[in-house]
């Protein structure tokens, strides 16, 4: 593209330690650890808290439904709420999200109906929701592939001079795929308005981050693409929100892409069918449970007297409501139509496909007749 590519201004490495604004004990972190970012306004912190509580309750509910066999599978984001929600709330409605299977709570926070999200995990259809409605693409399973889609969409928006940006989640394991590199590099060269939210939850199913990279941090890759990189405490919602908000703003205003690595931890199993006892110890998990992102923000908001008891009750009630609504949505059988199998493969019609459609139609009417 016509973009003039000149050497990036400042060549600086991300900090060796993840930057944060609120420490584990819920106090404002020393400025030295803030990477120059400042605490978001109280109302922003309140909505971060509210959305995280709701997301957590929902995630727990969905895991329960999965154990009950109502869903085929569900990859939980428990413990990752700060990076999931912190990043998602930094988006404008007009921005586009490119999530993975891990990021259901982000998709839900974008406004997609819980019941619609879960139809994919229940096995009704690959993606039941309309990606255009909430500018949220299907949750991608082929790792890292969606990062390139984000670069393409961002570039198209840039060509059309639309002041929007794309945000994509990429797992720590997925950063090893060639597509992640190609996405970082294309974004750098094209100065695409994209934020790569590298969600380092330290595991790729059973494989620890130490077997994915020898670098200090994944965000150290940014410099190799001439784009800014940030290494962030992924359990500090305030920090994630501040860093991603700044990156999205810069992207929307022509400042190009950013890589934001959020260091967090996958508390649950990879999915319900995984057995983490085979590859990690309880102590490690407990240590991370004690660094809970919601408790952290809650302590801060309470000590700062931003969060009162009524707020907590109403938020809890709201969360319960969504959980039970989700239960209801997942009760009863899915209404799936086998004939839809042939409806969306092509826009143009195909005789051979119609023949196969008729074959199934015949089988179904015969088996009905047999009833």
């Amino acid at each position: 593209m016509s973009l003039k590519v000149e050497t990036p201004d400042a060549v600086t490495l991300p900090s060796a330690k993840p930057l944060r604004l609120i420490d584990d004990s819920g106090h404002a972190a020393p400025a030295a650890e803030s990477g120059g970012f400042v605490l978001p306004e109280p109302d922003a912190l309140m909505s971060l808290y509210r959305r995280m509580v709701i997301a957590r309750r929902w995630d727990v509910q969905v895991s329960a439904l999965t154990r009950q066999g109502r869903l085929a599978t569900y990859p939980s984001a428990l413990g990752q709420e700060a990076s999931e929600i912190g990043a998602t709330l930094a988006m404008e409605e007009t921005d586009w999200l490119f999530p993975t299977y891990r990021d259901s709570i982000s998709v839900m926070t974008r406004g997609v109906a819980p019941g619609e999200i879960l139809r994919a995990f229940r096995g009704d259809w690959h993606c039941a929701y309309n990606p255009h409605e909430h500018r949220t693409m299907p949750q991608s399973t082929p790792l890292a592939t969606q990062a390139l889609h984000a670069v393409g969409l961002g570039t198209a928006a840039k060509l059309r001079k639309d002041p929007i940006a794309a945000l994509t989640f990429v797992g720590d394991g997925a950063t090893s795929e060639g597509d992640t590199h190609e996405a970082f590099n294309f974004a750098g060269v094209w100065q695409a308005p994209v934020v790569f939210l590298v969600q380092n939850n330290q595991f790729a199913i059973s494989v620890p981050i130490s077997k994915q990279t020898r670098a200090r941090a994944l965000s150290d890759r940014a410099i190799g693409y001439g784009i800014p990189g940030y290494y962030v405490d992924g359990n500090d919602a305030a920090a994630v929100y501040a860093v991603v908000s700044a990156a999205m703003r810069r992207a929307r205003s022509g400042g190009g892409p950013t890589i934001v690595e959020c260091l967090t931890y996958r508390i649950e199993a990879h999915t319900n069918s995984d057995d983490p006892t085979r590859y990690r110890g309880k102590d490690e998990v407990d240590a991370w449970k004690s660094r809970d992102p919601i408790e952290r923000l809650e302590k801060y908001l309470v000590s700062e007297e931003i969060l009162g008891q009524e707020d907590r009750d109403s938020i809890a009630a709201e969360a319960e409501e969504l959980a039970s609504a989700t239960r209801d949505a997942m009760n009863g059988e899915a209404d799936v139509d086998p004939m839809e199998l042939f409806a969306h493969v092509y826009g143009a019609s195909r005789t051979s496909l119609s023949e196969q459609r008729e074959l199934l139609q015949r089988e179904l009417s015969e088996s009905e007749a047999a009833q």
């Binding site: 016509s2 693409m137 670069v151 393409g152 570039t155 190609e182 493969v345 826009g347």
Partner: protein, 332 residues
């Protein structure tokens, strides 16, 4: 925009494709072209020659050298409403993009229940017979044709090259557009713009009564040469140019085979699991009781594409085709 072409009496396939891109870009501002060397160089085969000068770097540009990146970013652009036309420099260099093509490009429409469509054209200068070194002469059509969600077409002459590329770019479904390199410099008298038969139909290139030769892309010429030779032996050969590999035009091919009762399919690709297998299998399924003999496949051997000095032994020739037809039992 096509005056340059309109004044041309004799048009090469490269020029036809170049004009198709130019006219499509002029007609629809959402059409963008990118890939490796498509900008100032005009592509290694010059198919995009002059287009960057004419439309600027925001309509056609050189991407970084990464095929998965090219297809993956094209998908994102299409989601946002652009109509990318991208080039894979040779069949073998589309392989790094295999996952993006098979797992996303082909499946996105179905995945999203028709809500996200991907009007993307992937141009592939395809097949061999141009003395290319290793990896420059593969035929990849069987991989794409087996993948539901993809439309796969291939022109065999300049007029189709123009008309089918225009139609492919207008299509809302992703299209793999395979350009037979060995026919790039073939010429045809015509006035552009030209509209030939619809992209999804096969065309009878030569009428005959004894045998149907089913060909596509580079082997259509071989089939027509074979028909000439055969005529001298008193054998009347009908030649069908498939044009569309997916979907397959059962009606046109079926009608020809019912008439001749004998058929052979030609392609450059290796035979085993090649596109010819689908042709033979489906035509036999439908026309079994009209067939006087099994459908033959005269194709490349089941070996990697040979080096330049040996490719002539690999490619199906009129002689090899006639020999094959003579293995049939011809009742007087």
């Amino acid at each position: 925009m096509t005056t340059k072409a309109a004044s041309t009496a004799s048009v090469t396939m490269t020029s036809a494709l170049n004009n198709a891109l130019r006219d499509a870009m002029a007609e629809d501002p959402s059409v963008v072209v990118f890939g490796e060397d498509v900008g100032p160089l005009g592509g290694v085969f010059r198919i995009t020659d002059g287009l960057q000068a004419e439309f600027g770097e925001e309509r056609i540009w050189d991407s970084p050298l990464a095929e998965s990146g090219i297809i993956g970013s094209a998908i994102g652009m299409a989601v946002y409403g652009l109509r990318p036309v991208v080039e894979m420099q040779f069949d073998a260099f589309s392989y790094p993009a295999f996952e993006q093509i098979v797992s996303h490009l082909a499946k996105m429409r179905n995945r999203t229940r028709g809500r996200v469509t991907l009007p993307i054209v992937i141009r592939i200068p395809c097949a061999g017979d141009i003395g290319g070194v290793e990896h420059h002469s593969d035929s990849s059509e069987a991989y794409w044709a087996h993948t539901p969600g993809l439309t796969v077409v291939t022109p065999s002459n300049p007029a189709d090259a123009y008309s089918m590329l225009r139609e492919a770019i207008r299509s809302d479904d992703p299209v793999i557009f395979m350009e037979p390199k060995s026919r790039y410099w073939s010429k045809q008298e015509m006035t552009l713009p030209i509209t030939t038969e619809p992209m999804d139909t096969a065309v009878v290139r030569r009428e005959g009564t004894d045998v149907t030769l089913i060909a596509y892309g580079p082997t259509v010429k071989t089939a027509l040469e074979t028909a000439e030779l055969a005529a001298e032996e008193g054998l009347s050969v009908e030649v069908v140019d498939l044009r569309s590999l997916s979907p397959f035009d059962d009606a046109t091919v079926g009608a020809s085979v019912r008439k001749t009762s004998r058929a052979a399919v030609l392609h450059e690709a290796a035979q085993f699991g090649g596109y010819g297998a689908e042709v033979a299998a489906r035509v036999t399924e439908r026309e079994f009781y009209h067939l006087a003999a099994p459908i033959l496949r005269i194709t490349g051997f089941d070996i990697p594409y040979p080096s330049p000095k040996l490719e002539k032994y690999y490619l199906p020739t009129p002689e090899r085709i006639l020999n094959a037809l003579n293995t049939w039992v011809w009742e007087a």
